[in-house]
Point group: C6
Chain length 263, copies 6
């Protein structure tokens, strides 16, 4: 999809310059950062600036190479080949963004290899062809370094052809603005949630697998926008989602009570 309206993105470091240089060189890009920190938004902004189509795929551990490359389908009694999203990006010279690839399967990373190294081509075994990547094609993959990651299954020699960009959660003022705008809540509610999130993110020795993300704040704020009181929304969309452990849930609840304004 071609992003018609410029997505809101404010650069924190040199990530924009690095992405542009990599794009001019045709080098694949590796985005590192935690869940829900805005990696997708960054890629959307870059695609818009470069005037290229963006094809995004949300990775999951059961994704197969056919999900990316394409497959034969039965339509009206005939077998028809249908390009997968990666194949379309390769043909059209689009940016292909493989979002949050956690523990991707081997046969998925294999189709990425020849596109990431100097070959810049996609073998489509089922068709018996090898597609050269069209001008403008660019591979972007993101992952959370805190997880098992596809990077471990990329050949070192392939990984050494990636350009890496590291992103974190946005600074409080940006995050506040995003939460307020996307969930439709007033700035003060957004401010409370961002402060709560940062308190959780900065916990020493946290037992949480994942901290509260910008995305989670938007969802919490969304419940408030639907009329739920703030405390219930935080409990349902943050506390109980972050942990199943009774002790952790209680401790998080106390922390929430300390940050939230008294009703």
């Amino acid at each position: 999809m071609l992003t018609l309206q410029a997505p809101f993105y404010r650069a924190v470091n040199d990530e924009v310059e690095v992405f542009h240089a990599a794009a001019r060189r045709g080098a694949p890009v590796l985005l590192k950062g935690p869940t829900g920190c805005g990696k997708t938004r960054f890629v959307e902004a870059m695609a818009h600036e470069l005037g290229r189509d963006l094809i995004t795929v949300a990775g999951h551990e059961d994704m197969t190479s056919a999900d990316l490359v394409g497959r034969f389908l039965l339509k009206g009694g005939e077998t028809v080949w249908v390009d997968g999203p990666l194949t379309r990006a390769v043909r059209e010279g689009a940016i292909f963004y493989l979002d949050e690839v956690v523990e991707a399967r081997q046969d998925t990373t294999v189709v990425i290899h020849p596109l990431a190294d100097h070959r810049r081509e996609l073998p489509v075994d089922r068709l018996g062809i090898t597609l050269p990547a069209a001008e403008g094609f660019q591979l972007v993959i993101s992952y959370n370094p805190g997880y098992q990651s596809v990077l471990k299954s990329l050949k070192e020699s392939t990984r050494q052809r990636f350009i890496a960009i590291e992103l974190g959660f946005p600074p409080p003022d940006v995050e506040r603005e995003v939460v307020a705008r996307e969930a439709g809540v007033d700035p003060s509610t957004a401010d409370i949630l961002v402060r709560l999130a940062n308190t959780i993110r900065n916990l020493d020795g946290s037992p949480l697998r994942e901290v509260a993300s910008t995305r989670m704040l938007i969802l919490t704020a969304g419940l408030v926008a639907e009329g739920l009181n703030l405390r219930s929304a935080v409990q349902a969309a943050m506390v109980l989602v972050l942990s199943d452990d009774a002790d952790v849930v209680r401790a998080l609840g106390e922390l929430v009570d300390a940050v939230l304004p008294r009703a």
Copy 2:
């Protein structure tokens, strides 16, 4: 099935408000709670209040994605596609409730992912189509946090889009009423069973994998309604079901003898 008669449900906490807010937002809901505590009843009540169809599937560890999405079947020599329950819910805008998903297999959780995150769509690979969820579709899954759970195989980024609600066993007065009404026994028998259940639930350092649920009490009471004496019914439907260990069975039996009235 559209629940015509309002199911009996009395709210204990803010669970009703949270569910309604999530439903308005179209966010998926995660119900946490022990086996047989009334999760299904809660969902039935919510569906009735919202005036939506409810499609319930009892999860099991051998469930495949085809059980949810559908499959081609041979009917009279022809191959016919038959929608699975999830696909029907997606098409019709119903509430889809996946009950007690213990250790669900990977390919099952995969079909849930794109419905749970911002895509709200169901890829039907066999048909080569991707169905957008109809207005009103809502995903609800339940699990027992004490078990290995599907949650462990949900991507963190997907889990962060769920709204979580935690339920427990109903308070004694509600449980008494349910047992008496559903099994057809008098209130005093129901009262004895509820007291027995709560004694078992509150055992310190219990060796049981699972405590006595509301559902188990209904079954026990059902044997009494069939004419079996109370002690035999408790032994057969509670004690011997809760454990295979001879020592545990003996200890439970003594506990039962202490709670039950002398014949």
Copy 3:
């Protein structure tokens, strides 16, 4: 098969009353007890009393769901569906008895689940249909709690819908009668074997995986009925079957010599 002649069964506890109540309620029954203690005989007696057909399947660890549900077979060049024993029981409203399910495979227990819980239905995937259990259908499964058991792979929520009955070896007088009648030996030989069996069953710190069952006594007595001397029969059908360990075999032999009358 409909048992025409009433099988000999003398109740020890309340097992008959419990079974009848469960049958009236349509609840599935779980028989616990050691190998060869008479579980099958009990079910046969119950089926006879209730006037229902009994379909028995001896479980084994390589049993597949197709063995229970049915399969397509090639007959004279055509593909014909043949109901498995479980499907027949579901259609005909018979008692289905799955005997000694040790380490049953996952896909076997899966077909049992929906019949054991409130659904009382059997999905026949290959036919694309779901059969409701006919009036009178009842599921009975037996297992030996000393083993790995199917129970471990039943969902807790399903297990909580079973009524459990525990059986042991019959009291000496009953066992004596059964051995004498079934093997065709005189009462004194049966008495010696029952005493020997009880001595083995009561060994402190026994190294045996399984004790001598009623069934084993019948087989031993059968060899005597064929003219073999008692000591050789006991050695061949009991001692050498119970253990492969030379030391255990020797110790058992000495125990036998102490119990058997001097020739």
Copy 4:
């Protein structure tokens, strides 16, 4: 094959009486004993005495149920069913002897189960039929208790229907006669080999996985019969076969030098 000439077998214990009684009762027999001790010869002798056909299969760990039951084969463009040896024995009422089943695979033992227990039938899944065992059919399996064995994968309830017979190496005089006759060597050579074998069999704390069997002695004597000198024959057919370990080979060689006559 019907053994026309009575095989030479001299009873050591009550093994003949036990086998006959089991045969009259139709009970399956379990032969225990080390590799090459004469188990096959015993079964051949029993079959001859009983006047029944004997069908022998040498078990191996890659044997499949199809090897026993039969399979469809392409013959001249047509698919033809060919009975396996077990199916033939079941149809013809022969003795079926499964020799030295080491680590038999699951699907092999499964086809044995219903023939070994009270059902006495063979399900032939590929044909969709269940064959009742013809009068006279008897199942005999042998194994070496020193190994992993099929017995471990037989259900205890099935094992308890077997009659067990334990065999060892024959006494020296019998073994001498067998070696001399089968290899065609003079009695003094046979005597030396039997003495050597017994020395090896009685080693304290032997590092050998398997001792020298009667069969090995026959092969060694056979090399002598072909003109090889005794020392070379013993080295080639016994010492180097019994072990790959250089130290063990040397120690065995010294033991051989001590037992063999000086050239």
Copy 5:
């Protein structure tokens, strides 16, 4: 592809003489060396000197034998055999170079075996033929001894038929020239990067899985050639690619700051 222009390669040791002797003898060659050190370039130079075609395949762990040997493909409704790159090399007498085989799968190494030992032939199972290698065919495989390698799955008897050549990173003057020429940067930038790389390569007790390769320097310099400042280029194409560990990234960053000229 026949390399028309002589690739730039300056010999460091006797690697050229060894390769020529092996080529005359028809012996397979094993190139050892780290990722991105110039192994491919060396093979290209040798192929050019010998006037032979070079067919290069970049190995990856999901490569199958069909990727090397060929497969049947559906083209316009017909099944057509398409030679794989190895088969082409065997038929045409080319040099076949299997680059960076990390953890190659078993069925891949199997097709190499008969070409590496005295047979010099390629069995093409799918066609039922065995192709003798044409005059001039030579097998070259490379690997990084620091990794799990295909060599571990080559039979020792096969490995003993290889001629081994060990390569390292080029000396600084050569590496500088290569970086400057291939990335299009000035010599001083190339010099800084080469010095930085050698500092990283010589770290004591380095926590890096892989050091900075010549190839990585070319990519870094490429970003500079696209206008990115040197520090950002080094961070994106070297530091963040070499490690995901925050501490290691920080330490590498400090090292970079020490080597790079102050802006």
Copy 6:
């Protein structure tokens, strides 16, 4: 292939007599010895002396039974059965030599079993036939006792039917002659290499998985015959092949420098 010219072989022990006796008896032979010590040559010499055809197969761990027995192939649209090498040997009464079976797969050893024991037959499952071995057929397998070996997957009862022969590296004078003749170098070069090999073979506490074989010496000498200097040839064909470990390579290099004449 029938070896027309008598291969050069000088007996070291009684291996020739043992092989002849085994051949007369039709007993299978097991050759033990290190990689490249001349096992193949010995078998070739025996086949020539006995006037029998020799069919040799170089075993590898991915060999399947179809590689030995045969398979159906598509030729010109028709399915044609093609005998494998073992089947040919069985039909023609040839010596079948399975060379260096390292870690052979189960289904490979299974086809050997019935040929190695008293049955002397080859079941060809795909054809539904069992071939009796023709007069003169003899099975010979070789292995390196230092490795995991097929012997571990042969049944003990089968192994006890093999005649074992142990071979080592040839004595220096023989090895010198072989190296000089096969590689085409002068005796003094061969002498140096043989001395070097024996130094390596006799290293105390050697870290090498495999020592330098006669075959390796021939290859090294071959590089010299192609004009490479002796030191480079030894480094490339011996040192770097024997180890990937830098320390071991350095130590071997010093050892080589001590043995080789100063240039």
